[in-house]
Assembly symmetry: C2
Homo-oligomer: 428 residues x 2
């Protein structure tokens, strides 16, 4: 692409803070401004360089300092950063123009805007005084990984579009599976057809496995029986389970959320589950999915995987273990017991963007049978076909969106963090 450029605005230095190397050249990446009469007055044509290395260097350094200063101030002057944003709904509308600005602004102006208009609307999740949901969910390593990911701007929707993306994802998920002592059948190098794939969130993870399980059972019983399918969770199960089922066309009244109470520490009672299944079978329903949770979001309840797994096995039902909230803690040997019984699960998910210090969002999912996911979600358009045979790298196409864009930020995170993770003691 090329632009005509005149000289109307191209001699200012606002855009790059005036430090010399991009002033006055009318370049897209410098401070030039393409005015309407560029071509008309015979201006020279300049090449667009969206990723100009020197502009990236200069402005990237400014941005690093901006972010580092934010964390410094958050630490040194907590009184200036109320953890919970104090703005009123609609506050921003009055501070911004009604239409997109007509002219570019300098980075300095833009960062001033961020400080004055955006910062008051930020709830400071990384503040040392933040204790809602889950605290301190990112890290310097996570941030650096995101930078590298965004900087290389890798697109990974097939193996060929950047082989490292697909391969690293698979390898690192094997590493993580080993740290969690997941059974061999969840490894891409295991004897079966298992493996891991990164989803955006636990909500996406439960959605894709509900779909995989749904299609597996419908293939057997015929798709007209969709209205007979039933699923099981507890009244502590995350709301995304219901959402996933509704997306997949499961009838709302067929979502059984079993009652829990303090007698089981709000874990799902296996007897209630088996009773519900028997009852449903007797009435002609088709039980096909159990969502067990290790650390529910609402109450940190832990469902008893061993008896639930036995029931799932007995009745041939897909057992998903949603450990999005707390599962990563099971890397610690003293907490591994909470996923004892995982051997009988068909899928397992946890969020690396919680206690593993990955940035939002990074939600590894492991499945025993990757073909169930691929069958449910594959697309094979001509423009994504390629000649290289990749079967032995276990190429997944399991995201509900085409792109799976994670690159070695994960690698970065685990290289640096693994030792800390394995040894850390989590304070109650």
């Amino acid at each position: 692409m090329e632009f005509g450029t005149g000289n109307g605005y191209s001699n200012g230095n606002g855009y790059t803070n005036g430090n010399g190397h991009t002033n006055g050249n009318g370049n897209y990446n410098g401070n030039g401004h393409v005015n309407g009469n560029g071509k008309a007055n015979g201006a020279k044509v300049v090449k667009m360089k969206p990723m100009d290395s020197e502009l990236l260097r200069e402005q990237g350094h400014i941005m690093v300092d901006f972010i580092a200063d934010y964390y410094k101030n958050l630490q040194d002057s907590p009184q200036d950063f109320p953890v919970l944003s104090q703005v009123q709904p609609g506050y921003l509308r009055d501070m911004l123009p009604d239409s997109a600005p007509e002219r570019p602004e300098s980075l300095k102006e833009l960062l001033d805007d961020v400080s004055k208009k955006i910062m008051p609307g930020i709830t400071h999740w990384q503040s040392p005084s933040y204790f809602a949901y889950y605290a301190s969910s990112t890290s310097v390593a996570g941030f650096l990984g995101e930078m590298l990911n965004a900087g290389l701007s890798v697109v990974g929707f097939t193996w060929l579009t950047s082989p490292a993306a697909t391969e690293l994802e698979i390898i690192v998920l094997d590493w993580l599976a080993k740290l969690l002592q997941l059974p061999d059948h969840f490894l891409s190098t295991g004897k079966g057809n298992g493996g891991g794939v990164i989803q955006g969130t636990g909500c996406e993870a439960v959605l894709v496995v509900v779909l995989a399980a749904r299609d597996r059972i419908l293939k057997k019983v015929g798709k007209t029986l969709l209205p007979q399918l039933v699923v099981y969770g507890s009244d502590q199960t995350h709301s995304s389970f219901r959402k996933a089922c509704l997306i997949g066309g499961i009838h709302e009244e067929n979502i059984r959320l079993l009652k829990t109470d303090s007698s089981t520490n709000y874990g799902m009672p296996p007897e209630s589950l088996e009773e519900a299944i028997s009852h449903d079978l007797a009435k002609g329903f088709i039980p096909f999915f159990i969502c067990a949770t290790v650390g529910t979001t609402s109450s940190a309840a832990v469902d008893p995987l061993v008896p639930l797994g036995n029931i799932a096995k007995k009745y041939g039902i897909w057992l998903h273990v949603d450990a999005a909230y707390a599962g990563n803690a099971c890397i610690c040997p003293e907490y591994r017991k909470f996923i004892d019984g995982i051997e009988n699960a068909d899928s397992f998910n946890m969020n690396a963007h919680k206690w593993l210090f990955a940035n939002q969002t990074c939600s590894p999912l492991w499945v025993k049978d990757r073909y169930s996911l691929i069958d449910a979600l594959k697309t094979n358009p001509e423009y994504l076909e390629f000649k290289v045979k990749v079967s032995h790298v276990h190429h997944f196409v399991t995201n509900i969106k085409e792109p799976s864009i994670y690159i070695e930020d994960l690698k970065k995170r685990y290289h640096i963090h693994v030792e800390y993770i394995t040894k850390m003691t989590i304070r109650n």
Copy 2:
């Protein structure tokens, strides 16, 4: 969280390249190493600071230079960067350990690893010689926006968790809608119930509107009629449309992909559509969704929105306009004609991560009736409830995943780019 730290490994300088400020203090963010006998031998307890400002500053600058050098080399020594990765499937497995490394590595070691092991597996989408799919899909501004987003690590799954995230998304999507001259009913400030929301990709966008349209029609006709629902696209429509329908439980044989040929430049023939609808109605099917495309991925075909819109209106069918691939070009006045007829659409989507230089992924979606999306996809768990009334900021909960994590990177992008975007001439 606190760690016991001994002195076994905590006096090295590997982790931060030994430049002084973090060496030898056993700090989590420095180069300390938590060994197993930390507590046993009475070591001091140090606080964990996952986002240590000075470590972030130091390592962030190193990372900026690494990325800037990559783009410099890509430009200056293209021979060292074959655009298409030349590795063989499985290449990475042999270069990495089987398990996660036990000890942290220095940033320098890690970046060496990236250069030697990851880079050969990268297909260089930002290379000036890259012409597949869509070229040069990011920019310095996009990168800086991602840095800021990752750096602040904002979580936006409700208004309260960072009001600026929700509000800025809505405002900027109004800006973009105005640039595209979308009809008033797609604006959050319009007379109706419309508005914009950012999805990850065009694939996600078509999924959420298929679900919204499905639930709208099933509410009317009863959910047992799901097997009667039919949808329409063309043989040029993106494969994600089929995938979205299958996820939503639409029967595969009810997906009508109408034949196109060179006589309509591979656009969907309105006569074929009307004929198919009449035929389906006569047989008792329920037509509920048309996916029209402006710039198909396979052939850049443009479906004729005006006649398709009239048909959709006549039969009360949801019309989605998938302009993921080419829609952003319609910001240019000379290309706006390609979305003439958008007035009769129920939803419109385009990808800002294509010609608008946003990083992957950023896919704005506008709908005429936001409640159709909210009804289909809302969740109301207790832990996401809050007391503030936000109705007048039009808070959407329309992502299929809970988090909608975009923050003012968009603002950044549009501030800087809007002038260029509106004036640019796209070379054929």
